[in-house]
């Protein structure tokens, strides 16, 4: 018995305890057993992922409205796709989304990598600092949206007071959320505040995965710190940085909750990201067919961009 491996012992015990089951299973082939195990997962996947996707694709070609389920459904062909792709408001929403995604990803990557680089130096108290830096990402976006609304309040908001302290302007002289120029940056600042720690965490994992002997070899070769950074640290951490960029890019492309709480898409439509437009079409106007088409367009966009990106990521990793 002592010579048996751990897994064999478990199997042996299972057979000893439940001989009836074992006898029944003994009659099944490995292939049947495998199917038995994965069937529930496949059924679940089909029910909650594949079927809704196919159904959404179907609805996107119809005039269906979820609030008028009894009305006749008319096949419209690609009408919705045509009208969405030629709608200036949709393109404006896509531009707002692009501005938000690009700037949040750039800022979060630069700051996140910088923080990870500092934390990786293992200075005294770095563990405590890591925990403090990670706090914002542990909060709910709804909470973050609400309390930043107060921080941005021109009369009582801490953010305005801090800016006023450094610039000498009156705190109530500018509105971060009500100003057309500032509001797109207001949502970028909040997202960067919340999610930079996440990027930092991934980058930190990348930095910690670089073996010390490479740096030791570089030291022997008298490579400067600057050279070590460009030739060892950055290239070896790059796959991790790219992964963080991918995660944040996808996440921010579908950003809804925080922006909705902060600005509701306003002032006007200045911060109306694509997901807010989609939500309004789907659950306020109840244009289910139209919003299905828009959802498919967004899905294809993210899926296509993510695929191209993953190919680039694989290339970097294989170098």
């Amino acid at each position: 018995m002592n010579e048996l491996s751990a897994s064999s012992r478990i199997t042996y015990r299972a057979v000893m305890v439940r001989p009836g089951v074992a006898r029944r299973i003994r009659g099944l082939s490995d292939r049947t057993l495998a199917w038995l195990f994965i069937t529930p997962t496949i059924v679940l996947l089909l029910a909650i992922n594949i079927f809704p996707l196919l159904w959404t694709i179907y609805l996107s070609f119809t005039n269906y409205r979820a609030n008028r389920a009894n009305a006749p459904t008319i096949w419209l062909g690609a009408d919705w796709y045509q009208s969405i792709l030629t709608d200036p408001d949709i393109w404006a929403a896509m531009q707002v989304t692009a501005h938000f995604v690009i700037w949040t990803v750039v800022i979060e990557t630069v700051l996140g990598f910088g923080l990870a680089y500092l934390i990786d130096k293992k200075f005294r108290g770095h563990g405590m600092w890591t925990t403090i830096i990670l706090l914002p990402m542990m909060l709910s976006p709804a909470v973050v949206g609400n309390f930043w609304t107060f921080l941005y309040q021109p009369q009582i908001g801490l953010f305005n007071y801090v800016v006023a302290f450094f610039t000498g302007r009156a705190a109530s002289s500018f509105q971060m959320l009500g100003d057309v120029t500032l509001s797109p940056w207001a949502i970028v600042i909040v997202d960067a505040w919340m999610w930079t720690p996440y990027v930092m965490l991934i980058c930190l994992a990348g930095l910690r995965s670089i073996p010390d002997y490479i740096y030791e070899a570089a030291e022997v070769d008298r490579a400067s710190k600057w050279r070590q950074f460009w030739s060892i640290t950055l290239p070896m951490a790059l796959p991790f940085i790219m992964l963080a960029v991918l995660f944040r890019g996808i996440e921010n492309f579908k950003m809804f909750d925080m922006v909705n709480l902060l600005t509701g898409g306003g002032p006007g439509s200045t911060t109306e990201v694509a997901s807010i437009t989609l939500k309004r079409a789907a659950f306020e106007s109840w244009r289910t067919g139209y919003s299905s088409a828009f959802a498919i367009i967004l899905f294809v966009t993210v899926f296509g961009l993510a695929n191209i990106y993953v190919k680039a990521l694989n290339k970097v990793k294989s170098r």
């Binding site: 979820a66 009369q155 109530s172 002289s173 959320l177 009500g178 006007g268 439509s269 306020e284 244009r287």
Partner: protein, 448 residues
């Protein structure tokens, strides 16, 4: 076996207690008859909870309440209705929902019930019957009982107006006494006068107005200016013909005037204000004037800091073309998907009673019954009663079409873009609105 029986008895006892069946419950509740009423979470809802205790005492039917904050109210309950949910047996739905709810079969038609129970719509204020009950409008097809009359009104700081320094400065600047504004121009003067002024060492501002973007805020606010300047939803002789009515020269001026008021006289950061933000601004002593629904006025009058002698109320002032105000308020309807329709109808019958309507007003709800509103003592029954009565005689409502949400979204976007985000001109905003509304009606198959 004995142990098992004991455990079973204890478990049964616990279950019975958990379901609230005991000495303190009514016989009907013991039979499990409880109905759920859905509404917005605000002051009048608390009054309704209090009022409904009488219904439970009389009928034995228990009441449960589902109240949702205004910002999520439409989303939550329209989702519930559209998904054929049976959460709500009774719903106090917004006036603009009536078209959609009637055409989509979400509300029970009440004509036969009213006839059977002797409930007459002649006993209610005409504006509330049209606004809250009828679909199509101005036809005797009733889907709700007028439950909560409401309209947009204004509050002002009576104590500030009474200050000698304020009176002196105002007269010096405008050549007239400061007082309740009769016109929108006068209102702007007052707001401008207070903007940035120091009162008791504190900087104050002119007015809190509706500017909210996400749901319906800015539309509910700007309408009070648009109507007064001559805006009409369509040609009275040709329904859905909007050119020259929605975007008429006078309507354009109304929109410009609203933007001027927003720019000159609101507190900093008021770019997304609706009911609660207005209340906060007024209660914290930030503003001299506040636009808000009458429903909040009982609570404001009781406020220890700004209520009582410090607060005054007035109706939406007149503009160059008319004196109107935006209708608020709701009717109470029975949800088609309810499994307790009989009990829900019983509630409506009880609610329509004369004494109940009187108590409803006394508790802080706004009755729509003529027996209450036409009572000679009504105007003096509360400091805002006279203004409420006057307002209910000059209300105008937004479209109540089945596609109202789309129509509302279009106006929210066009108006917010112009007023708050400074995009384009007022003429462009209203021309754009006509274009949007035409597209929506075209999709609906309307001819115009």
């Amino acid at each position: 076996m004995k142990q098992t029986l004991k455990a079973l008895a204890v478990a049964c006892g616990a279950t019975v207690s958990a379901f609230g069946v005991g000495a303190g419950t009514t016989p009907a509740q013991a039979q499990g008859k409880t109905i759920t009423l859905c509404w917005a979470a605000w002051d009048p809802a608390n009054a309704l909870v209090e009022l409904s205790k009488d219904f439970t005492a009389k009928s034995g039917i228990g009441m449960k309440f589902e109240f949702v904050p205004w910002t999520n109210y439409a989303d939550r309950f329209l989702n519930e209705l559209n998904s054929h949910g049976s959460l709500c047996d009774l719903i106090i739905g917004d006036s603009q929902w009536i078209g959609g709810a009637a055409e989509n079969g979400q509300y029970v038609k009440l004509n036969d019930f009213f006839k059977k129970e002797g409930i007459s719509m002649d006993d209610y204020m005409p504006a509330t019957v049209v606004g809250y009950s009828e679909w199509p409008k101005n036809t005797p097809n009733y889907w709700a009982l007028p439950a909560m009359g409401d309209a947009v009104g204004w509050t002002y700081r009576k104590d500030w107006f009474a200050r000698p320094d304020v009176q002196k400065d105002f007269k010096a600047k405008y050549g007239r006494e400061i007082g309740v504004p009769k016109t929108l121009d006068e209102l702007k003067d007052i707001a401008q006068f207070f903007q940035g002024r120091e009162i008791d060492g504190k900087k104050v501002y002119g007015a809190s107005i509706y500017t909210e973007r996400g749901s319906e805020g800015i539309t509910m606010g700007v309408s009070n200016y648009l109507y007064d300047y001559g805006f009409k939803y369509d040609d009275p002789k040709k329904p859905y013909a909007m050119d020259g009515f929605v975007n008429s020269a006078s309507a354009v001026k109304g929109l410009e005037a609203y933007k001027e008021l927003y720019k000159c006289c609101t507190p900093p950061g008021a770019s997304n204000s609706y009911m609660s933000e207005g209340l906060d601004a007024f209660k914290s002593g930030q503003v001299a004037l506040q636009m808000n629904f009458f429903a909040f006025f009982p609570g404001l009058y009781k406020d220890p800091n700004v209520g009582g002698d410090k607060i005054g109320f007035f109706v939406n002032p007149a503009g160059p073309a008319a004196q109107s105000t935006q209708l608020g308020g709701q009717g109470i309807s029975v949800v088609t998907y309810s499994k307790n329709q009989a009990e829900a109808l019983q509630y409506i019958k009880w609610f329509s009673g004369g004494d109940v309507q009187k108590k409803w007003w006394a508790l802080g709800g706004y009755s729509c019954a003529k027996s209450v509103l036409n009572d000679p003592s009504f105007p003096s029954s509360a400091p805002f009663a006279k203004e409420f009565l006057q307002s209910m005689g000059m209300v105008v409502d937004f479209w109540a079409e089945p596609s109202y949400a789309q129509l509302l979204q279009a106006e929210q976007k066009r108006v917010h873009d112009y007023v708050v985000a400074d995009k384009g001109t007022a003429q462009e905003a209203l021309d754009g609105l006509v274009k949007d509304w035409k597209a929506i009606f075209k999709e609906e198959g309307k001819k115009f």
